[in-house]
């Protein structure tokens, strides 16, 4: 516990990373939103006679993502983690008649989400290299989806958040309809239905907040700091929880996840499971836990209950599945439940664990969904009654599936371990029942994972099964990138240092960078100091 607290509460070092400060831009965050939009537009209107430039289109999408990652890495390195304020802020009046400002900014949790989105972006393009049909439309939509996710992360104006939150629905639904599996149409409609409901709930919440705070501005600095009565806080928070629950997803708003994650192409699966769905937890952090302390206190048991039901349901449903992609889809719900448990803990440690869990959970969910999608494609079957004893014939997939399973369970060395330990340690104090219930659900999930691994990888080879091949280089890279990120942060949560010094190397450490802003959120829930200690 002491070590954990030391990690979390370590005063971030302002020592600059070598290379920091060499590049600044007043529009750094805008670049992350508008580069993919501009590239998508360029791809859409690029001449492509008889598909001649399809490889070029894939390269453009890849290098655009790589370029954005470079920009993001600069932002990550230059981020001043000793400042609790928003950084890289951009503020331009947009619709002043109703108080809308194009206001962007990022704090520690936001930066973490951006890093997740950047990694997922590269992984999704690598995972989509096998797309052969309508390549131009595919990458165009994929880039638009990425832009909308980035926009929702950096938005500091509720109106702007709503725009980007809703804008991700259409391209993702079209990607599923266009390039998904046999039940793709139903999957896309479910996505539109649930996410549409979530967007409507968010709109109601935002507008209620806007009305309750005087109807002058949509800026988060105004809306989220308005002093509202507990009743209004609770009403708004309930709506926000519904909006978040449709995205993350949380039980009982999970109706889309099985079909979407099992029917979407692998490149889209990682975007949905990895970055787009984590926005739900991010919304909870921003608008409920971070902004409405009275509602946060009162509704935290509800959040813990939702988390417990989500993890429990996911484990049981995965255990009962006979389709490997269905099982993976249910298991991808587990990290979301753990993230919400951390938020429900409303303690500094729990919230910090929850924030880290957004990153690690996004990677783990994307990895399990992505690796099972690849496995199903390569093994030419999704049925767990058919898939058996694949480890010798698919060594790359086998390793990646094992890492994904370990990441979901939070074993040491992987970054999800740190996140889950922080979350549970934070939660056992304030939400003991919820924490026990989530832990029980996690145990069921562990059983489900064990059964899955035993059947698929270690069982007796099925001689009647269709032919099997291991993951291609592109697939191995895209899944390896996710697994590598989980390992890297697990091994170096505070970033690697120049030997013998405290000067960070190229990576200042995710745990250090994310801490900026968390203390402000957590301070609202800090336990009063006992009189004797004063």
């Amino acid at each position: 516990m002491t070590l954990l607290m030391a990690i979390v509460e370590a005063t971030p070092s302002p020592a600059p990373v070598p290379g920091a400060g060499i590049f600044t831009s007043p529009f750094l965050l805008s670049l992350l939103i508008w580069i993919p939009v501009i590239v998508a537009t360029a791809i859409a209107f690029m001449p492509n006679p008889r598909g001649r430039y399809e490889v070029l289109i894939k390269q453009i999408a890849f290098f655009a993502n790589l370029g954005m990652m470079a920009v993001l890495f600069i932002a990550y390195n230059q981020f001043e983690n000793f400042l609790p304020t928003m950084q890289y802020e951009e503020k331009i009046p947009w619709l002043p008649g109703i108080g809308v400002t194009y206001h962007l900014g990022v704090d520690g949790p936001g930066l973490l989400m951006l890093m997740l989105s950047g990694l997922i972006g590269i992984a999704s393009v690598l995972g989509s290299l096998g797309v052969r049909e309508r390549v131009r439309s595919y990458f165009c939509l994929l880039l638009l989806a990425q832009a909308s996710v980035n926009g929702a992360i950096v938005a500091r104006d509720m109106f702007v958040l709503l725009v980007f939150w809703g804008a991700s629905v259409v391209p993702l639904a079209l990607l599923i309809i266009g390039w998904g599996g046999p039940r793709r149409v139903a999957a896309a409609w479910r996505l539109v239905g649930y996410w549409g409901l979530g967007t409507a709930a968010l709109a109601i919440g935002v507008l209620a907040l806007y009305a309750a705070s005087g109807g002058q501005s949509f800026d988060m600095d105004v809306l989220l700091k308005a002093s509202l009565s507990p009743r209004i806080q609770i009403a708004i928070s309930v709506v926000m929880i519904i909006a978040a629950a449709t995205r993350l997803p949380l039980f009982p708003f999970h109706g889309w996840i099985r079909d979407v994650l099992s029917e979407a192409p692998p490149g889209v699966t990682v975007v949905v499971a990895g970055a787009a769905s984590r926005l739900g937890a991010f919304l909870l952090l921003r608008t409920v836990i971070g902004a409405e302390p009275a509602a946060g206190h009162l509704l935290s048991p509800l959040l813990a209950a939702l988390a417990a039901m989500t993890v429990g349901f996911a484990g049981l449903a995965a255990l009962r599945s006979v389709d490997v992609r269905h099982a993976a889809s249910y298991l991808a719900m587990v990290p979301g439940g753990i993230t919400v448990l951390g938020l429900a803990a409303i303690s500094p440690l729990g919230i910090a664990g929850s924030v880290l869990s957004m990153f690690t959970g996004g990677l783990a969910a994307a990895l399990i969904a992505g690796v099972c999608a690849t496995l199903a494609e390569r093994a030419q079957s999704r049925s767990l009654l058919v898939l058996s004893g694949l480890a010798p014939r698919m060594p790359n997939v086998a390793w990646l599936l094992t890492i994904a399973a370990l990441a979901l369970l939070g074993v040491p060395i992987l970054s999800s371990y740190t996140a889950e330990v922080m979350t549970f340690f934070g939660a056992f104090k304030n939400q003991p029942i919820g924490a026990f219930a989530v832990a029980a659900g996690l145990a069921v999930s562990a059983i489900a994972l064990a059964v899955l691994l035993r059947r698929v990888l270690l069982g007796a080879p099925n001689t009647d099964a269709p032919g099997v091949s291991d993951a291609s280089l592109g697939e191995t890279w895209f899944l390896g990138l996710l697994a590598g990120a989980l390992l890297w942060v697990g091994l170096f949560p505070g970033g690697p240092k120049i030997p013998g010094t405290d000067v960070p190397l190229f990576d200042p450490g995710l745990l250090n960078q994310m801490s900026a802003g968390i203390s402000d959120i957590a301070s609202q829930y800090a336990a009063p100091t006992p009189p004797a200690a004063q």
């Binding site: 009046p93 008649g97 079209l174 539109v192 409507a200 209620a208 109807g215």
Partner: protein
């Protein structure tokens, strides 16, 4: 110089007359078919420029019958821009007459301009009728039966409006809108005023094709030529919307006499439009129902009876005008149900992009122009505490977005029809330099509506203020 403000009206009306007369008596050589649309669009753009340049002058003309203020500036500019874009995007191979096809959108735009700058009830009625008559002419060219139906339905609407206006005149003793507003200040709502307002709003709802009256109007739009449908679904509804906004502002001192009706109509249109759009599959009917849903948001803005709500409605009406009017024109000849537009994204990329944006904007999908308009109305609804209406509106928008995704799927994901199976009803829109430019211009206009939301919304707000709203 004072009358320079009326130059756009003169240009538009004069050009329409020249086109009609010239077409009727064969004054234009056959070769003129190639350049006449270009010349017409150019003149409309000149009128648009003059409107923006000279329209800022606030003054009254013809003894107060026409008023130039920020409201009329906004509405007239929107009408002229819409007319220019729709004429540019039109698929002239799909129209029954080039001359009338060019003239009627100008007549409709003229009607909208008259309604926008009307200072009294007569001007409002006349503007609405002129705009609607243009639609009847174009519809009748292809389907006289539908033209007759539109004429009859229009007659009913016109009667309701006239009776309502007459009752309002009898109740207030004035036909001047500002005078009516002044008379009603401090008055209590009475049944004698509520009944004519109900008739008035019913007439306007019929004209606009709002639910539940859309059943009378929309089938007409389905059978008309693309430009005919543009006028029925778009321009006539815009004219009706403008009349509704101006009447609502005149009746503002006693919102109890109109706000409940507006709320009911808004709910029916928003939810019904979205559900109907989801239920149909053909692109044009879907677009028409999406338009109905968005008009519901305009009505919801009126129901707030606040300046912010009516400003939001006006802002939304601008986005609606462009999308609903140009949508059918962008679709061109591809009217034969869903298969007609399958894979159109690959075959006609610019036109498809325009149609996709029109559909998304009408559905209120973020980050389109319609979304911004709907959200500005939603903000006003939230300010007024009308969360039930807001929730139902959002439900309608979710249904609309789901419908829009269905159309996008057909446009971009499905494979195109084989040429041999492509009949006349599924003919591809013709590709010409002007129409491609028009489709691109349409995309730019919709994007600009979002990017330059600041000044446009400011102008809409000033427009609402000019109506005497605070």
């Amino acid at each position: 110089m004072k009358y320079l403000v009326l130059l756009p009206e003169v240009l538009v009306a004069g050009l329409a007359v020249i086109l009609m007369v010239g077409g009727r008596f064969g004054l234009f050589p056959r070769a003129s078919r190639a350049y006449l649309p270009h010349a017409t669009v150019l003149i409309v753009l000149v009128a648009f420029g003059v409107e923006l340049w000279a329209g800022a002058t606030v003054s009254a003309y013809l003894g107060g019958a026409l008023v130039q203020d920020r409201f009329s500036l906004f509405a007239k500019a929107a009408a002229l821009l819409t007319a220019a874009v729709v004429l540019t995007t039109a698929d002239w191979a799909a129209e029954d007459s080039v001359h009338l096809g060019l003239a009627m959108p100008l007549v409709a735009a003229f009607g909208v301009m008259v309604a926008a700058s009307a200072g009294d009830m007569l001007g409002l009625w006349a503007g609405l009728e002129v705009a609607a008559a243009a639609g009847v002419v174009l519809v009748s060219l292809r389907r006289p039966d539908l033209g007759l139906r539109l004429l009859l339905v229009g007659g009913v609407a016109s009667t309701l409006i006239l009776v309502g206006l007459a009752f309002v005149y009898a109740s207030t003793g004035n036909s001047d809108l500002i005078a009516i507003h002044d008379v009603l200040v401090g008055r209590a709502p009475t049944l004698a005023l509520a009944i004519p307002v109900l008739l008035l709003l019913a007439g306007i709802a019929v004209r606009a094709g709002l639910a539940p009256f859309h059943m009378a109007i929309l089938p007409v739009g389905f059978g008309a030529s693309p430009l005919g449908a543009s006028l029925v679904i778009g321009m006539t509804a815009v004219a009706a919307g403008i009349v509704a906004i101006k009447l609502a502002s005149a009746l503002l001192p006693i919102p109890e006499v109109y706000a409940p009706y507006a709320q009911v109509v808004a709910v029916l249109a928003m939810v019904g439009g979205g559900a109907a759009a989801l239920a149909v599959r053909s692109p044009r009917p879907r677009l028409a129902y999406l338009a109905v849903g968005q008009l519901g948001w305009v009505a919801a803005g009126l129901a707030t009876h606040y300046r912010s709500g009516i400003g939001g409605s006006l802002f939304l009406l601008g986005a609606f005008a462009v999308a609903a009017t140009c949508g059918p024109a962008l679709l061109g000849r591809a009217e034969g149900g869903e298969p007609a537009i399958a894979g159109l994204g690959a075959l006609r990329p610019v036109r498809s992009a325009g149609f996709a944006l029109a559909i998304l904007s009408l559905a209120g999908a973020p980050p389109m122009a319609g979304f911004f308009g709907e959200l500005s109305v939603a903000a006003a609804l939230a300010q007024s505490g009308n969360f039930v209406l807001l929730g139902l509106g959002l439900l309608g928008s979710v249904l609309s977005i789901a419908a829009a995704v269905g159309t996008l799927r057909v446009l971009y994901i499905q494979s195109p029809l084989e040429e041999a199976r492509r009949g006349a009803a599924a003919a591809l829109p013709a590709v010409t330099g002007l129409s491609s430019l028009g489709a691109a211009a349409f995309c730019v206009v919709l994007a600009a509506y979002v990017v330059f939301g600041y000044p446009i919304m400011g102008l809409a707000d000033q427009g609402a203020k000019a109506l005497g709203l605070r």
